[in-house]
Symmetry: C2
């Protein structure tokens, strides 16, 4: 596995590039619903461009399994690097070993080694009989048993440790002992006073500690949270913070706005004070989104690193090199990761060598409808006629509906350029579930289509996937015959396949050309994976139908559609012809649609 997943390597790289980086800390929530929401949030906040995310170890140790499982999920589904906290609290060495083994297994190469808070319920901190008394012992243990595999971070306390009584010199010795034991860098406790931080950093350096220091920053999200946090950690807050916030403390919006300015100015001063040598910010999100987002916006920090691929890679160790996927799961990435979890390898990261893999069962991993009956009814109601059904698909394509049974999320940004065409298609009975417009050499930093290393160009072939009746399919395929650049596969629930392709080999539909690189071709269409996806696509339709009573008109409509309709994928291979993929669908269409086509060319 590449060392580039180690935070130390990331920090060096960002520093060499003169770039400011940031990371987000989250804690394991206490309820299943909270966990589900946090997953959504981590995924969404991933787009804000954190260099890594940091998952705390629950103070009481009750949720330690949840910490590991969060790390796993973030690697597997969200493609973000992680740092995992590990504390001495209530941890015999055997539990430390389990946690480190799991971290390694899931692809995490960064550990924040802490003594930890006293267990929930109060009382003094006490070491576990078979565990460690100090963070430096934990650091030592990790280094002894795992060599250089992990980057190890330790905590620094600019205002002094809340429980410490020995004074700053002793604390500095303790920090030094952690570094001497093998720690690679320092995360600080939160603070709101620039001078305290700057003074402490200079003392750390004067003590001969040369590892990078990363300030921990807590955005001010609302007045209650702010006052609870500073009380808990006994944080010293400059008077001008209070002067600015107290008058508006009842107005959350104003608190966030003024708080963002206060914290933002402090961060800017830290980054601008050269002798502090600070190049990144570790943000205590408190599992909230808005304050972190506003702080980054205030500082003018936006993701500078493009996504490395057009889809989120899976960062578990054996899949890190994976660089090619079928397009069919584009809107159900988690299902794809699950259904291919047991593939032994992705040789050279290439699909070609794994062309006939055993996709996991459709049923085994929730590869069915991902919506509860309640959500489904709220979203899609009770369609009773084909027109009702078309209407749902039209509204989804127009951006008026947040999801369809086959799409976990609203239509992608890039689909916007063809959404009016898609609405027309659905009006005509082509029930679209996936699509992409053609792209002819957009820059790799293009905000809509870009991905991959900078100074490159990215390309796409136009793609459409839909359900359609057998009668309409016959007519369509006749019209497609006149378009030699179009290839298609059509299959019904029974597995009857029609195609005009002559080979099972993959068709690259997304690729990119970059400096000093092979051509990357991360998204493909091929018949074998299409057949695996077909089972899933029909099963989703059937499980949607099953939400309704067997005598209901909705059940009857949906089952008759999915029993008889074909699932069709269509690729227009000439990516230089803008909207040509729509021609065989809309050639009998209204004048305004024809105009759309001509304009597109």
């Amino acid at each position: 596995m590449a060392d580039s997943s180690k935070i130390t390597a990331k920090l060096e790289k960002a520093k060499a590039e003169g770039r400011v980086w940031w990371s987000f800390e989250y804690f394991p929530p206490r309820t299943p619903q909270g966990l589900s929401n946090l997953y959504d949030r981590i995924e969404r906040m991933g787009k804000l461009g954190p260099e890594f995310v940091d998952i705390t170890w629950n103070a009481g140790g009750r949720t330690s399994d949840l910490t590991a499982s969060l790390v796993k999920t973030v690697h597997a589904y969200f493609g973000l690097e992680t740092c995992m906290h590990l504390t001495c609290t209530n941890m015999p060495r055997s539990k430390v070993d389990v946690a480190l083994r799991e971290a390694k297994e899931y692809g995490c190469r960064n550990i924040l080694a802490l003594r930890g808070d006293p267990p929930a319920g109060g009382g003094e901190w006490e070491p576990h009989a078979a565990g460690f008394s100090h963070a430096y012992e934990l650091v030592q243990y990790i280094r002894e048993h795992y060599g250089d595999y992990f980057t190890i971070a330790v905590a620094g306390f600019p205002e002094g440790h809340p429980e410490a009584t020995e004074g700053p010199e002793v604390e500095m010795e303790q920090l030094k002992s952690k570094i001497d034991a093998g720690a690679d860098f320092i995360f600080t406790q939160m603070f709101y006073d620039f001078d305290i931080f700057a003074d402490w950093v200079r003392r750390v350096k004067a003590a001969g500690i040369t590892v990078p220091i990363v300030p921990g920053v807590m955005p001010i999200q609302n007045y209650g949270g702010f006052t609870r946090a500073i009380a808990r950690f006994r944080t010293k807050v400059p008077q001008y913070f209070h002067d600015a916030l107290d008058p508006v403390k009842e107005d959350d919006e104003q608190v966030r706005k003024i708080g963002t300015e206060l914290v933002g100015k402090m961060c800017r001063k830290i980054l601008d004070t050269k002798d502090l040598d600070v190049h990144g910010l570790h943000i205590y999100t408190m599992n909230l989104e808005r304050g972190s987002r506003m702080l980054l916006e205030y500082l003018g920090l936006t993701p500078t690193v493009n996504p490395p691929l057009p889809w989120k890679p899976c960062l578990t160790p054996k899949r890190r090199e994976e660089n090619i996927r079928p397009i069919f799961w584009a809107n159900r990435a988690k299902s794809y990761v699950n259904r291919t979890e047991f593939w032994d390898e992705f040789p050279n990261g290439r699909w070609g060598d794994a062309r006939s893999p055993a996709y996991g069962d459709v049923d085994a991993y929730g590869a069915q409808l991902r919506f509860s009956q309640e959500d489904a009814l709220k979203l899609w109601g009770t369609p009773e006629t084909l027109d009702d059904l078309k209407g749902l698909f039209e509204r989804f394509c127009a951006g008026e509906l947040a999801s369809l049974p086959w799409s976990d999320a609203p239509v992608a940004k890039e689909t916007k350029v063809i959404d009016q065409m898609l609405v027309q298609l659905n009006k005509r009975g082509f029930l679209t579930i996936n699509s992409q417009p053609p792209v002819d050499g957009a820059r790799s930093d293009d905000p809509v289509h870009g991905w991959g290393p900078k100074n490159g160009y990215v390309y796409q072939k136009a793609y459409l996937e839909f359900f359609v009746s057998p009668q309409q399919l016959d007519e369509l395929l006749q019209r497609i015959e006149k378009h030699p650049q179009i290839t298609y596969h059509a299959v019904n629930a029974q597995g009857d396949m029609r195609t005009n392709t002559t080979s099972d080999a993959p068709n690259a539909v997304t690729w990119g050309c970059f400096p000093h690189c092979e051509i990357l071709q991360p998204t493909i269409v091929d018949s074998i994976s299409f057949l695996a996806w077909k089972d899933e696509a029909y099963e989703i339709g059937r499980s949607w139908a099953r939400l309704y009573g067997q005598d209901s008109p909705t059940y009857k409509l949906l089952t008759s559609v999915f029993d008889s309709y074909f699932l069709v994928n269509v690729v227009h291979n000439d990516f230089k012809q803008d909207l040509a993929i729509f021609e065989p669908f809309l050639q009998d269409a209204l004048p305004d649609v024809e105009k759309l086509q001509v304009n597109g060319k």
Copy 2:
């Protein structure tokens, strides 16, 4: 190996596409010089688009080894499919076995089974005691021992076999016995009378023979050759041939012109007469070029099939799937094939898996200067100063010199678009030995840049390779720093390497996007193969120097250059910027050169 290398498959495909095809027959020459010339000719005539080439078995059997070696060379170096003749004359079964084994080993899947002429020196044809008496026995033997591996052709005689006395019915029975023994199609003996051919074809069909019939056509190249051939094969020639040719028989030019018209009209009539079901022509070239070329031009037949890759593939069995090569050997393809002959495999046809292969020795396979002392002196004279040397490189780039020590052939067609820039580079001391202009999505049927399946687009990154002095290299690399899209490798004879790349991975510099295909990326630049090429490039320079006396100014000039100069490759990774690769070389250049750059953009 694909069945597509069998002629039967090719004939079916051409017929399905409504396309006329042609093939060229050559015979093994009797002198080494003749052989060398024939190799050049076969390679050059390969560009006329023959579906395959056909190598005769020497009538006397003396040159049978040469036949196999011709087949091998055509497959390995020229990337053309072959048909190999095999006769019964003087051939014990053991020799037949050797010939078939060799054909298989070299990648030939097509055999023309013949009884053969009597041995040279005259006398009646007599069977070999351990051999075969009739072609049908040879056909039977091949089918019994090689199953369907080979396509088997047999000869047909529209005018009757020259030695036959039994009459047309018996001959038809003999033809039928060859087909019944397992032959797949028929090549005919040459003829000049449409009616005789048409009548014979209809009789063949009436006899129940349904295999394809391919007329053998001999262009009229000069009067002497024409009369000797018709005398030897007792060919019946219509009176109007004589009437047209006899008056101009002393004028070769006129004979070829009128002869082309006469033969061309006959061919056209054959192709246009539907019931004959003829879709291709087998051309007896007599190892000459001009007549065959004129005949094809007269018939309006030009290569319709694009080259499948930008370089000629090697059609020996284990290399057929090879689809990626380093750019460095672009002008010395044979040396590349030789130096990689012993690679065990090209897994999946991809370079990536064979990134560190053991290139054969520079010395082992003539990977040195491919020119005799005489040729070298004639071509390059005795350069005594650096300006003399620059002048040679300038003239080569301007198309005024047919070769350089590093280039077997004149500058490629596509280089024409940058030849004036290259001349400027050489004037300034960058001694260029390889280059390609950028291409941003030319159609795959583009006459200059096109390759690969139809309806695709092909791309190139601009590439330059040259020798340059260490001082100039220093200046150049400083200027290159301001061009983030340029990557380079520089190495001297001692192996000191300088590069701004951060990875050994290949940089794709030629690639193509085609319907229902993965992206093909057949040409790459990478550091490991560059180091292998470096040894060869310097050895060529040193062997050029060795042609001159050690005290001569030329020897001293060349050795001092190749002892101190760096070999440099430069890639401009932005293929959308026309002439940007020249900017760091010519930024201090004359106004007209600057204008060239601006126009190029």
